[in-house]
């Protein structure tokens, strides 16, 4: 049995632990982008009619823990990107850190076999557990990069993209 598990591990393209580390690495970078915003601009600054970065962050909150909670429990969770997390960057960072721990706990409850399982997330988005969580990560990279442009337009140097420490 021990050997079987080891053999499986060595032949994985990506282990569940590596997938989690990719996600949390990106989340650490997104946290630094939130930190880089001036307090007021985090909530108000926008280009081309897009949402301020605080609103994009609310979308990320609405996806990460609620989505993983649905994946773990099998019970449909409501997608709501307009929840109130407070009115300061500190409020958002506190929620961010709570979610970091919660994501680790939820992840440990997803067995290797489940990543290929077909699901219908938030009652509407069809895909596998794999493609759903890839979407979480890709969507976070996408919105965070929009935050990078906001920071550049504000003449603020964003954190290095490749630093996931």
């Amino acid at each position: 049995m021990e050997n079987t598990i080891n053999e499986q591990t060595t032949t994985q393209v990506m282990t569940p632990e590596q997938f989690l580390e990719q996600y949390q690495g990106h989340r650490r970078l997104t946290r630094r982008v939130i930190e880089a915003f001036p307090e007021k601009e985090f909530f108000n600054y926008s280009i081309g009619g897009m949402r301020p970065f605080a609103e994009m962050t609310k979308e990320l909150f609405a996806i990460a823990v609620p989505g993983l909670t649905e994946i773990v429990s099998g019970k449909t969770v409501e997608f709501d990107e307009h929840r109130d997390y407070g009115s300061t960057k500190a409020d958002f960072l506190k929620k961010w850190d709570q979610d970091t721990e919660e994501i680790n706990k939820l992840w440990s409850q997803i067995s290797l076999e489940r990543f290929q399982e077909e699901i219908k997330l938030f009652g509407q988005y069809e895909g596998t557990v794999l493609s759903s969580i890839q979407y979480f990560v890709d969507n976070e990279i996408h919105h965070r990069a929009q935050g990078y442009v906001y920071l550049r337009a504000l003449d603020i140097e964003p954190p290095f993209f490749y630093d996931r420490s």
Copy 2:
């Protein structure tokens, strides 16, 4: 042997084919972002001192096929994001489509076992084959999202993020 391969496939978090499909799905979306730019703005438009989208696209060209060529051949390839691909969007789109085919060909030469292999890409970036290619995808999402902000600022509706067809 047939059974062994099938068993491995069913217990993969992500198969090599799924990884390729994630990459090519993102590349199809990036292609639509290039198409969405007006000819002139593709080469000239910028926010906050950032590069025009054509220059970001040159970076993507410098990574995808050269990076996979190094992974397949084991021979260090030079990273050069300033190569000349022509002066029109049509030139860039032609190169884009050539690379799509080339990526498929190169990918088919990467065996499942290689994704966990440690490499030093372009002679300098240390990681596994997995983390290197994840970086290719993540970096493309990152720069493409900056293109989304450019398009919004130009009052052009970008393609839907979730459409990878």
